[in-house]
Amino acid sequence: MSQRISMVSTMSNAPSDVFDAWWDWPPPVLDPAGPYADSVVVLAWALIGMGVVVTAIVVAALYVAIKGPDHWKTKLGGEKAVWIGGIAFPSVVLTGLLVWGLTLTASLTEPVPQDTMRIRVTGYMWWFDVEYLDADGNVVMRDANELHLPVGEPVVVELASEDVIHSFWVPNLSGKEDMIPGRVNELVIQADRAGRYGGVCAEYCGGPHALMGFVTVAHDRADWEAWIEGRSRLRPEIVDQDVPGEVPAITPAVARDATNSLDGRRLFMDSGCAACHRIAGTEANGLAGPDLTRVGSRMTLGAGILPNNRGTMIGWIGDSQSIKPGNRMPSYDMLSAEELEAIAIWLEQQK
């Protein structure tokens, strides 16, 4: 065992994670990509600076108290020094810092215009449900563990939770905001440069909390319109207009691969996947797990933790418990490798 570790250490500096390859992990906290993260980062640096100055003063005073000349020691221990250093200095500095900090971050809590784009994100143990809302608050598109937004525009994120307290945090785009069961918190985020930003749950929420993440993708204008267009053309979907009790039309499309003749769609339905997962346009209508309507176009699996390809999909379905221990999806190790592959092939096509 020790040999194995020493051998590995000569090959790379330290054991690494798939996270490291996928995006900067942990997401960089002092690299703002928008105005809401900007002010938080400026405040953070100011507080770090203040901390350094105060620590330096205390260390200098300590040195004087121990090794300094006697007349300095007398001054330091005198009543005047206590009044100035102990009361006046902290009061003035902290009051100034408070006023400056509140002014700086006032924009974080300013009301946003009514027509601002809204996305509702609901925390579950241990993944994020994502719903895009229209102007009237209807859900027009459902997704999971992935947030898409246009560059340069503020977006209101409505934060809720279905079970315990989670916290929504995209360090590049804003501060943290708690997701609390029974209420809706609002957070405004904005990305000023296109890119992919990692997000995490920032409140311990049990077992695999550390494996509860998501990706935020900021598209520039043309890219954003293409994305919206692609989504609405491929699978027109108005979630709230599903008629209760009516089984949606069944699409006959069966995904087969040259090497796999099994019916992935039927396996998905028959193996019980549909009890927890919804795929719009099919009878799969479960709501306990992430919506898989567009899982084929998603970048990650397992709530922002694995790249999405056929291999990782098979590995996730086959034994998600070894990847994310304690998550609420059982390991489907009762299926054969061919069956797992057939399901993965079918899910790949859900875009």
Binding site: S16, V18, N309, R310, W316
Partner: protein
């Protein structure tokens, strides 16, 4: 007499020790840059979702076999002659390299597949 005996014994011991076979070294000695690139490729495509792989702290998937000490295993996937060409072909497109393989093709370029093979050959457990 005793002195001769002990000298003779030492000589015999030394000779027999020298005759002992050295433990075998790694099957191949891939260069460090290729193994580094191989590890990056392994992380990017998520091989560890199914395989336990030394050097990857998380995940340690169990859907596929563990790759600990990979250098010492026999044929690739129990079927193919164990050489770099076959390994690179297998990690990139397993069903094509070994008919009936349940490992799917992975999104790797041929160059990346060779790097992944280099990394796996570096996993010498001895």
């Amino acid at each position: 007499m005793r002195a001769y005996l002990s000298i003779g014994l030492s000589v015999t011991l030394c000779a027999s020790l020298a005759a002992c076979k050295q433990p075998p070294g790694p099957r191949y000695a891939p260069d460090a840059e290729a193994t580094d690139r191989g590890l990056e490729a392994i992380e990017r495509v998520g091989c560890a979702a199914c395989h336990e792989i030394p050097g990857i702290a998380w995940p340690e998937g169990r859907t596929g076999p563990s790759l600990v000490g990979f250098d010492d295993i026999g044929p690739i996937a129990g079927a193919l002659p164990n050489n770099p060409e076959n390994l690179a072909a297998f990690v990139r497109n397993a069903p094509a390299a070994k008919s009936g393989s349940t490992m799917p093709a992975m999104p790797l370029s041929e160059e990346e597949a060779r790097d992944v093979a280099a990394y796996l050959y570096g996993l010498d457990d001895e």
